[in-house]
């Protein structure tokens, strides 16, 4: 009896959960489906779900008309570039705070976090004017700089929470065995730190890829990553649903895939270790 009751309960939970899951996912699914329709089919009434003439035409058109690939590469360069530079700066910083903590370490960490609390609009004007004067507006370099700086606190924090889980005794043991600082880092610490660094990198690429305040305000045609490029569809061009969908699908697909790998890290990274 009890088992039968729990089975039917599981069945009910299954149905409800799948319905909600599919409903929340539906806008994404609909975008992907629409990207394979012709423009006429995209606005057909009643809407067409699966039975239409699947076509890849929109993907070709989007590339031809607006050199989509260039914007895609801008996104790649900006998100990966800012992440790698961020890591180069943050790994030593997080390492030193995790393994050589001092009285002020906590204050430094909290202060770094506080820079993240700064609303971007509060510093938009100076950054815009400085960038205009030194010729960084609408350049990938400029965006890499800004995104590195705005995400640096998150990178340091995430790495710090990972590094702190590495037992300090292992380092001490290595030190006793006469390992130099360089060897200690290279042979003992690095292998244990790699998973943490990798997931930090993943989450940060996602955040940088989707960043849509600075990318919209600091770029025009040349250095625009996908966030800014897609925004140009808010003009009447957005009424071409199939093309909008094709451009959107290509913009979100890489991150959806990366995102699935980083669910767990998402919690840790975005709550600054407050929820694990």
């Amino acid at each position: 009896m009890a088992r039968a009751a729990s089975r039917s309960r599981t069945l009910m939970v299954t149905i409800i959960a799948w319905l909600i899951g599919l409903a929340l996912f539906f806008p994404i699914l609909w975008t992907i489906l629409t990207s394979f329709k012709t423009e006429a089919q995209a606005i057909a009434s009643p809407p067409l779900f699966l039975f239409f003439d699947w076509t890849l035409e929109n993907y070709g058109t989007v590339q031809e008309r607006s050199n989509y690939f260039a914007h895609f590469m801008n996104s790649v360069i900006i998100s990966v570039g800012s992440t790698v530079i961020g890591l180069v700066i943050a790994v030593p910083a997080a390492w030193s705070m995790a393994f050589v903590p001092r009285k002020r370490t906590k204050d430094v960490l909290m202060w770094m976090l506080s820079t993240k609390m700064l609303p971007p609009v509060g510093v938009l004007i100076p950054i815009y004017l400085i960038f205009r004067d030194v010729g960084l507006l609408d350049t990938r370099t400029g965006l890499v700089i800004v995104l590195t700086l705005i995400n640096l606190p998150i990178i340091v924090w995430m790495l710090y929470t990972y590094f702190r889980e590495i037992p300090g005794e292992i380092l001490e043991a290595a030190r006793m065995d006469g390992a130099s600082l360089r060897k200690e880092i290279l042979h003992v610490l690095t292998p244990m730190a790699v998973p943490g660094i990798a997931s930090t990198m993943l989450l940060n690429i996602i955040l940088a890829w989707n960043e849509a305040f600075w990318t919209l305000n600091l770029t025009a045609a040349k250095a625009a990553p996908l966030t800014a490029f897609i925004a140009s569809y808010s003009s009447p061009e957005g009424l071409f649903y199939a093309k909008l969908s094709a451009a959107s699908t290509m913009a979100i697909a890489p991150i959806l895939i990366l995102g699935w790998f980083s669910q767990k890290q998402l919690v840790r990274g975005l709550t600054f270790g407050a929820v694990k």
Binding site: A17, I20, I89, V121, P126, Y241, L244, I252, V275
Partner: protein, 290 residues
């Protein structure tokens, strides 16, 4: 000796990050503060002059400021209500055993990874458009007049779009928190005859309190700065019906080129965000000691 050596090394390793962040904070903040006391319009270069608090007076007494402030609070409050309420329900649901748990989890989380401009445009055109959108189609199916989402209820529409993006975040964090609740405690309560409502109220909710607070604070920080969703859907309109504080400052400085007033607005936005930040920092700091 060794410690002294590694201490010095540690300081060297820490300093690039610290110096860069200090620069990133002090320089633009100082300039924003400075500009906010100037009469400074990009269309009239070389005419900058000190005006004291005139920009603040102008910005704060502008009716647009009150509207934007109310809109900001409505947007943040609305999204929080939907995401925290929905997040708790979803987390409770996903915590139950059922078939295909992993797949459903992925489906639920997916919207968080969609870039803001894409989700805003997809919702605007393919769902909320009264002529070609799916919502309009469904309305006509029932013989109703399609609702003009973005012109008749622009702020509500944007709230829904943003809530869709942030619901996964709340769900994921609350789910993580629920899963750390010991099942023994719940089973004991169940054996003692506690029904679900009382189990929820007295065991689950208190356990979640911390995670809920974190969700609220972090989302608030991000939601105060919602920008892209407004830019591509309504452009702050109709009129200023969907202009929030962030968008107002943007419009003031980069559309009307009034750097002075825009900077004063920026300072106001910073003060507002700081009120939230102080609470958040306290919570995270407490966790650091534990």
């Amino acid at each position: 000796m060794a410690t002294q050596h590694s201490r010095a090394a540690a300081r060297v390793m820490l300093s690039p990050a610290v110096i860069l962040l200090i620069l990133w904070m002090i320089v633009p903040l100082g300039l924003t503060l400075y500009f906010s006391f100037l009469r400074y319009n990009l269309l009239m270069p070389g005419m900058e002059e000190w005006t004291g608090f005139a920009n603040y007076r102008f910005f704060l007494t502008d009716p647009a400021f009150t509207t934007a402030l109310v809109n900001t609070l409505l947007l943040v409050g609305g999204v929080l209500l939907i995401t925290v309420g929905g997040g708790i329900c979803l987390a409770l649901l996903l915590d139950q055993p059922f078939w295909g748990q992993g797949v459903v989890r992925v489906l639920v989380i997916a919207p968080f990874f969609v870039m803001p401009t894409v989700s805003a445009l997809v919702w605007k055109n393919m769902f909320m458009d009264p002529v070609n959108g799916l919502f309009g189609y469904v309305a006509r199916l029932f013989g109703a007049q399609p609702f003009e989402w973005l012109t008749a209820a622009p702020l509500l529409s944007i709230t829904l779009i943003v809530a869709w993006q942030w619901l996964p975040f709340a769900t994921l964090i609350l789910l993580t928190a629920i899963q750390s609740l010991s099942s023994e405690q719940l089973e004991a309560a169940e054996m003692d005859g506690a029904r679900f409502p009382s189990r929820f109220l007295w065991i689950i909710l208190p356990h979640l309190a911390r995670a809920i607070t974190v969700v609220i604070l972090i989302q608030t920080i991000f939601l105060l700065s919602v920008f892209a969703e407004i830019l591509v859907t309504t452009n702050g309109g109709p009129g200023i019906a969907s202009t929030n504080l962030t968008f107002l400052v943007y419009a003031e400085s980069l559309l009307r080129f009034d750097v002075g007033t825009g900077s004063a607005g920026g300072v106001v936005a910073i003060i507002l965000a700081n009120i939230v930040a102080i609470f958040l920092m306290r919570m995270i700091g407490r966790n650091l000691d534990a």
